[in-house]
Structure formats: structure tokens, C-alpha cells
């Protein structure tokens, strides 16, 4: 991590902790790396299996920060799918990020456009989840953007390094060790503080039930998107009822 750069001025009128919040974000995501790194190793291995060069793999790791969409792209490309199909598929897979961006509007709306774009580029499921947990626990945080950037880079940089290692060394994690389970465990830990009222509990239960049914049966992670939407709809409906009563 490079030292703070004093030549970068803070925007006037906003409390900015310099490197404090980025570092807190990067530290917060450390536990999830245990689950993320094995996935990145496997992705690097898949890149080589599907015939990508080291340069192509490296370029793709940095141009698109979204693991599932990368797996889909290299598979479809290797199978000779036309560009339009590949783009449509990855857009579908990443559609959840459009909903994430909707809920990030209150956090990012005062930022300049280039910084919002940078956040969109580096965000991941993991850094989004940790950022929303921070916003819930610490609503007065004056530098949520810094936290988001730190959390996102804290996931992405080790991820990209592990893709590179996986490409050259193969899948070096023994498959008998269920490290993939750490990812849902971290999301569970971040979900717990969200379950504060009836609406959000119902929203989570609906999304969970729908995901169990839809994720294995619908292609391209559309099941995940449908489950997310179902959870939001149920939450909003319950909320409306409560306000009407």
C-alpha cells in the first residue's frame, strides 16, 4: 500500500479521512479472501484450459471485474459463440449490479462522475455487501466512498493476483477442503444486521426461498436476479401495508 499523497486535495465541505476509510474497507474484506482466492485460482485455470494466452487472461482480469461473467465469456468464446450472444449473456449475468448501483445512489451522488465510474468499475458482490453493512452500522460515516473503494480494491487486487497464479500453477487448492463455503458464511454475517424489521426479514426469506428454487433451474444467473426482485417486491408490499394501516 503506497503512502498517502498530500498533493491530492480533499473536496471542500466534506469530511474526508484520507486513507482511513479506504484502509478500513480493505481490512473489512480480508476474511472473505479465504473464499474468493480459491475461485480466482480456478478461474485462472479455466482461462488456460479454454485456450486463452497469459496476456488475454491478464487483460480480461483487469477489464472486467466480475468472475461469473468472465467464466461465461471464455466458455462461449471457446465454443465459437457470436459477439452479440456473449455480450447479451454477460449483461444478463451482471444485471444484479444495476440494482446494486441503484442502492448506491445515496452514497455516491455527491461524487464527481469519474469517481462514480471508477466505483462502478471496481465494485464486486463482496465489496458491495461490506459497504452496505458499513452504511447500516455507521450511517454517519463521512467517507463511505473511500470505504467502498478500499473494500473493492481489497477484493480485486488479491483476486487478480490469484487468477494469475491459477493460470500458471493450476488449481492448487485440494478440492476436499470446502473453502467455497466461506463465501456464503461471510454473506450470512453481513445479512444478519440487515434483519431489523418485518419488511426486511420477509424480503430476505422470500429471496432465499426463490433463489433455492430458481437459481438451479434458470440459466445465466437469471434465477438470482428473479429472486432478488421477488424479495424487493415482497418487502415493498409489506412496507406499503404497514404505512396504510
Amino acid at each position: 500500500m503506497p503512502p498517502p499523497d498530500p498533493s491530492v486535495p480533499s473536496p471542500a465541505g466534506r469530511r474526508r479521512g484520507g486513507w482511513t476509510e479506504p484502509l478500513r474497507g480493505a481490512r473489512a474484506v480480508l476474511p472473505i479472501l479465504v473464499g474468493v482466492i480459491p475461485f480466482a485460482l480456478v478461474l485462472g485455470f479455466i482461462m488456460r484450459q479454454t485456450g486463452r494466452t497469459s496476456a488475454e487472461s491478464g487483460f480480461f482480469s483487469f477489464s472486467l471485474i466480475a468472475g461469473t461473467a468472465q467464466v461465461a465469456t471464455v466458455h462461449l468464446f471457446a465454443a465459437g459463440a457470436p459477439l452479440l450472444v456473449i455480450v447479451a449473456t454477460t449483461v444478463m449475468i451482471n444485471m444484479r449490479y444495476a440494482l446494486y448501483s441503484l442502492s448506491l445512489v445515496p452514497i455516491l451522488q455527491r461524487e464527481p462522475w469519474w469517481r462514480r465510474l471508477f466505483c462502478a468499475y471496481i465494485i464486486s458482490d463482496q465489496s458491495y455487501a461490506f459497504t452496505m453493512a458499513e452504511a447500516e452500522r455507521n450511517p454517519d460515516n463521512g467517507d463511505m466512498t473511500g470505504f467502498l473503494v478500499g473494500a473493492s480494491l481489497g477484493v480485486f487486487l488479491p483476486w487478480a493476483a490469484a487468477v494469475l497464479v491459477g493460470y500458471h500453477a493450476g488449481a492448487i487448492i485440494p478440492p476436499s477442503l470446502p473453502l467455497d463455503f466461506t463465501i456464503p458464511l461471510v454473506f450470512t454475517a453481513l445479512l444478519a444486521p440487515q434483519l431489523k424489521d418485518r419488511g426486511r426479514i420477509a424480503s430476505a426469506l422470500t429471496a432465499a426461498a426463490a433463489a433455492v428454487i430458481l437459481v438451479p433451474t434458470m440459466p445465466l444467473q437469471l434465477g438470482f436476479l428473479a429472486a432478488l426482485l421477488a424479495g424487493v417486491v415482497v418487502g415493498v408490499l409489506l412496507d406499503g401495508k404497514r404505512e396504510g394501516a
Binding site: T73, P178, F181
Partner: protein, 105 residues
Amino acid sequence: MSFFAVALVVSLASLVVKGLFTCFVPQGRLPRALDRILRFIPPAALAALVAPAIVYAKTASGSTFAPARLLAGLGALVIAVYSRNVVVTIVSGMALLMLLQRVIG
């Protein structure tokens, strides 16, 4: 078509999706009632990410129901509600899973 070109187009299209509401939809146009919807996106997204990952295990032949993962995941949820701590949840969830895998396979 070269893979670099495909990767570039795919990445730019995904960037538009990832920043759709923060960068590409004019901010003044978002209605205030939206706040009521936004509240539900994090819990619904997290629940939808967690549920399939604890109910099923990925095997070479696809996804299969995994009772040990489900029980360990539910146990971890209870621990998460009370501990409010990511590391405690990971360690106890993994311990539960390895224990349950030994007991019920």
C-alpha cells in the same frame, strides 16, 4: 474476431450495467419514493446469494442437495445474529460444516 476485442466490448457493456444508476441515469430523475425500494436491495441480494450456496453443493455432475451445508449455514446465521462478527461466523460455520460432514456425510 480476437479475444481482446470481445473482452473489451463485454467489459464496456458490463461497466454500463454496473454504473447504470450511479453514472448513466440522470440523478435528478430518480423519484424520492425510491428510498423505500432501496432498503430491500441489500437483504434480498444477500439472502439470494446465501441460500443456494448453503442448500446445494457443487459437484462434477451439477448441484446436489447438501444437508450438512444447510444445517451449518443455519447454525452460522444464528451465530451471526448474536455475534455480529464476520470472523466468528466464518470460523464457527466452517467448524460446524466439517463436523456435520463427518456425522451425516
